[in-house]
Amino acid sequence: MAMIGSGAPRAPAIGLPQRLLRRPGVARLAVVILLLLIWEIAARFLLDRDFISPPSVVLMSLGNLLATPGVTPALWLTLCEIAVAFVLAVIIGAGVGLAVGLNRFAHRSFMPIVLLLYGIPQITILPIFVLVFGIGAASKIAFGVTHGMFPIMIAVAAGVQKIEPVLLTSARSMGANRIQLFRYVIFPHMIPSFFTGMRLAMSGVLLGVLLAELYVSTAGIGYFTSMFTENFDATKLIGLVSVLAAIAIALNEIVRRAELRYTRWRD
């Protein structure tokens, strides 16, 4: 006790800001705020307002953007396209993945074809989608489906392949029929890979739908991005891109949370 007050080395007094910055989460937030500040100052004082708009102005005029005739319906339509494309990609992907994964011969024969098709740079065939399906929602949904279905196909096929054969054999020997086999053995084992596949499918669908939306410049989101670009309306362009990015982040986060929740039991 005599040490106290006798000039023992004390921890250097540090202020609250430093202590907070020691936590990575707080520091991360500080980095984001700093970047936004640099953007704000650069856009306000250094750069041409035709080409960039400060974040505060973008935020304040979001209402203005959404009130622009046609923008809100185009955003809703894009959201619907993503939803429909995702559901279709999951159904097709899981169906084919199960069919290819559950049968050794089918796996060996068709998996190389699936991988070959998945390896094709799909952006090259985007104009064909628009020629065939038109400039409306159909081409965007179709392009989203072809981007989303392969990852889930591959994940589900890999997942059901990894089921130990002894489980299938013992269930069968205990008299399980095909439906019971699927319900009690295959289905619980494919859940983790299914959710991983759904996360990958979501990023594929987002990419496909947004590529097609941006490509078609006469309707939908692409019409507004090209119009705002031609009018040098940086505020509205950045606003529209930010709203789309927010939609993408939200959808990615939903499937990521679902994956975390349903894959945990595997470990």
């Binding site: 991360r28 980095v31 984001v32 068709f110 891109v241």
Partner: protein, 257 residues
């Protein structure tokens, strides 16, 4: 050869047969659709026409200007993203604290479809090559920086301590301990960065540009010259596959040294 081996060999042969049959039937349907079932030539050209166009494009060298534009944009984008990605990744990886601050941030941005930046780049940099280079560099920056952080940030502590105690200076430490340990992970990131840079350069040419392979395909689609468009699509797919194969080969060779 046991009976079991023979059975698997036969199964493998059968699988190959199924694969060839699948592709052959696909081609056959394509041919029949254009000749017998009368699908519009504008939507689906005759495969023979596509083949003739492809031979014409390759033989006449008509693809060279567009290929040059695309490869130039790709080279610039990849050079920028490699320089920034590897150097920033190295700096961040030097401190556990910085890794904890920046890695989740970079991973979160990487999860956004970065193609959304394209309209902004077109506004700021115009329809020329600069906006394509910027997009390719942005998209490929993320796999490169993340793999550099992963590579340098997770070198086994024991190697570092052992080298230090043997008196290695900073340069020797980098050259003989950190770099060899991190290289395979970084090379994998560079390969991935290359692939996404190539795809995003072609994608941005498709969406908004005046030149390049992606633009050529769109141009032919708008002129309803579908046979030539299909020929260019096949050409681009082959080029992309070839470049990816070369990069994988280079990665494998660099890993061995």
């Amino acid at each position: 050869m046991s009976a079991r081996d023979r059975a698997t060999a036969r199964g493998r042969l059968l699988s190959l047969l199924v694969q060839f049959a699948f592709l052959a039937i696909l081609l056959l349907f394509w041919y029949l659709a254009t000749t017998v079932w009368g699908v519009s030539r504008i939507l689906l050209p005759n495969p023979l026409d596509v083949w003739h166009q492809l031979v014409g494009v390759v033989a006449s060298g008509a693809f060279i200007p567009d290929l040059k534009v695309t490869l130039g944009e790709l080279a610039a984008a990849f050079a920028i993203s490699t320089t920034l990605g590897v150097s920033l990744g190295y700096l961040i990886s030097r401190s556990r604290y910085l890794i904890k601050v920046f890695e989740p941030l970079l991973a979160a941005i990487y999860a956004i479809p970065i193609i959304l930046f394209l309209p902004l780049y077109v506004l700021m940099l115009g329809l020329g090559p600069n906006s394509k280079i910027a997009l390719g560099a942005t998209i490929s920056f993320f796999p490169i920086v993340l793999s550099t952080i992963a590579g340098f940030g997770h070198v086994d502590r024991r190697f570092v301590t052992a080298a230090r105690s043997m008196g290695a200076n900073d340069l020797q430490m980098f050259r003989h301990v950190l770099l060899p340990a991190a290289l395979p992970v970084i090379l994998a990131g560079l390969r991935m960065g290359f692939t996404v840079a190539l795809l995003s350069v072609i994608a941005s040419e498709t969406i908004a540009s005046f030149a390049g392979l992606g633009h050529r395909i769109v141009d032919l689609a708008e002129n309803m010259d579908t046979a030539r468009m299909f020929a260019y699509i096949v050409f681009v797919i082959v080029i992309v596959a070839f470049l990816n194969a070369v990069v994988s080969k280079l990665e494998g060779r660099a890993r061995w040294r």
